[in-house]
């Protein structure tokens, strides 16, 4: 039973991690409507900048502003130099442009930091485990991620749905000219929002440092998963992205934890393990396919 609870907790935690990664993307892709394949690269920039500063200064705390600032600056610069010219154009041009940015970012990081993954220490005070339930120890760092993830979710939700900035961004994504003709400097607004999305990606990157490998190309690994989250939840919906993250997290974890066991009841061991792993790798894609076939716009968008 404890194991089951632990696994569910793992699922939730993984879900929140996914959301933390997807949060910036929801903003940029879901709401601004820009297909930004280089989102993962900004995540990488955040991870590198934060990690390097944290290692050099020996303080995890100093890493946070470094990661946020670097990611936001790089993001805003990217918007200013490249993305800005592409809003009016086809989505496909955005694909090509941001694809080239991935190549550029990866190479630039390689040139500056080399090819080896970086060393990141878990901050001292978060390195232990906490007993969340009797007999259930849980890594403190992961609990910290949950807290940060929830805070980001709430903040974003409020920003997008309760503030004028959120409305304007959504308005601008469908009719830029009209927003401008009503007196709003959309270009500045978009640079700021893009920077904010980048900042969230940077935060996610830095937070991920202690549990993942900080290396070149780390962004592409998460990119597709985060797109899946956004689409399953319903493009443009923060709430959707949040619940989709949790759902995917739990289902993914449950598949990994229990599917091979279930299959082993009906087949011989090794085949069951391999098949189970195979199916669980397909897990999120399968889930997305099913969701989209039943609700073509995603889970949290009204049907019509």
């Amino acid at each position: 039973m404890t194991l089951f609870i632990e696994q569910m907790l793992n699922g939730l935690q993984f879900g929140v991690t996914l959301f933390l990664l997807a949060a910036g993307l929801t903003l940029i892709f879901g709401i601004m409507g820009v297909i930004n394949l280089a989102h993962g690269s900004i995540y990488m920039v955040g991870a590198y900048a934060g990690t390097v500063v944290a290692t050099q200064t020996g303080s995890f705390w100093l890493g946070i502003p470094a990661a946020l600032a670097a990611a936001a600056l790089v993001g805003a610069a990217m918007e200013f130099l490249v993305i800005r010219r592409l809003y009016q154009r086809d989505h496909l041009d955005q694909v090509l442009a941001t694809f080239s940015l991935i190549l550029i970012f990866n190479q630039v990081i390689t040139l500056i930091f080399g090819r080896q993954p970086l060393f990141v220490a878990t901050p001292e005070f978060l390195s232990g485990s906490i007993e969340v339930l009797p007999g259930l120890l849980y890594p403190a760092y992961r609990l910290a991620i949950i807290v940060v993830g929830l805070a980001v979710a709430l903040g974003l939700y409020l920003l997008i749905n309760k503030t004028r900035i959120g409305m304007l961004v959504r308005a601008g994504s469908t009719n830029r000219d009209m927003v401008r003709a009503l007196g709003v400097d959309v270009r500045l607004l978009y640079t700021v929002v893009f920077g904010l999305g980048a900042l969230l990606a940077g935060l996610a990157g830095f937070m991920a440092g202690p549990i993942l490998a900080v290396q070149v190309g780390m962004g592409e690994q998460i990119l597709i998963t985060t797109f899946v989250v956004v689409v399953v939840g319903g493009v443009g919906s923060i709430r959707g992205a949040f619940f989709a993250s949790l759902l995917l997290g739990v289902i993914d974890t449950a598949l990994r934890a229990y599917l091979p066991g279930l299959l082993r009841q009906i087949m011989v061991g090794p085949e069951a393990d391999a098949l189970g792993a195979g199916i669980s790798s397909m897990g999120i894609y399968l889930l997305m396919a099913i969701v989209l076939l039943i609700r073509p716009k995603g889970l949290f968008i009204p049907k019509s």
Partner: protein, 233 residues
């Protein structure tokens, strides 16, 4: 307040405006008439900065705004009700109204949500509905309300009553009349000549991108022969 002269504008290589003249005084209501495709909307877009004119002069309150960005034109106090109902489809009715609301010129009797709802009660019944699912007429009301919420000095209405039921249309005319009474300057594009004659101070007719006629309502009646030739009345 607004003075347009010698305006020339093109879409890519095809020139549409050749010589448009237009003047709107403080508190004046002026119409722009002409058949379909003669360049009325193009004129409006050029004024708004949504198109970059090739030549000519656009003075708003004495300042040259030719080539200025749309946002800066809007901030100086031009409010646009565009042709073809350009609501923000993913926003709710209320959000459409408040998203761009502003009172940059510090009006004391500024437009508020309540006043707009009062003007268009139907909108108040649809506050949280997403604008994409409004009926055509409801969208038109929304767009008008949205422009009012920016409290403009000059309001430009490009076919603002298109697709509205006669009652509503009458209400909108009433509203425009009231606005006029408050001293609001308005540029009207519409085909409802009889009302326009009553409401507006002066009229301009564009034909193939050129201002070919201008004058007050009385002159319009006087030149009815000529006018007929231009706009088929």
């Amino acid at each position: 307040m607004l003075k347009v002269s010698g305006l020339q504008t093109a879409y890519g290589r095809s020139q549409v405006l050749f010589d448009v003249e237009l003047t709107i005084g403080e508190g004046e209501v002026v119409t722009l008439l002409g058949r379909n495709g003669m360049g009325k909307t193009t004129t409006v877009k050029s004024i708004m900065g949504l198109l970059k004119p090739l030549a000519g002069e656009i003075l708003f309150c004495g300042q040259n705004v030719r080539g200025a960005t749309p946002e800066s034109v809007a901030r100086r106090g031009v409010g646009l009700v565009p042709e073809g109902r350009q609501v923000f489809p993913t926003l709710t009715v209320r959000e459409n109204l408040v998203a761009t609301a502003a009172n940059r010129l510090g009006r004391s009797d500024a437009w508020t949500l309540e006043r707009v709802y009062e003007l268009f009660p139907r909108l108040s019944e649809r506050v949280d509905q997403s604008a994409a699912t409004l009926s055509g007429g409801e969208q038109q009301m929304l767009v008008l309300g949205r422009a009012l919420m920016t409290n403009p000095k000059l309001l430009i209405l490009d076919e603002a009553t298109e697709g509205l039921a006669p009652v509503i249309r009458r209400e909108i005319w009433g509203c425009i009349e009231a606005l006029k009474g408050e001293g609001q300057s308005i540029l009207l594009i519409d085909k409802n000549l009889s009302v326009l004659k009553r409401l507006a101070d002066r009229h301009y007719i564009v034909e193939k991108g050129r201002t070919v006629w201008s004058g007050d309502s009385a002159a319009l009646d006087r030149d009815s022969e000529l006018v007929h030739g231009y706009i088929g009345l």
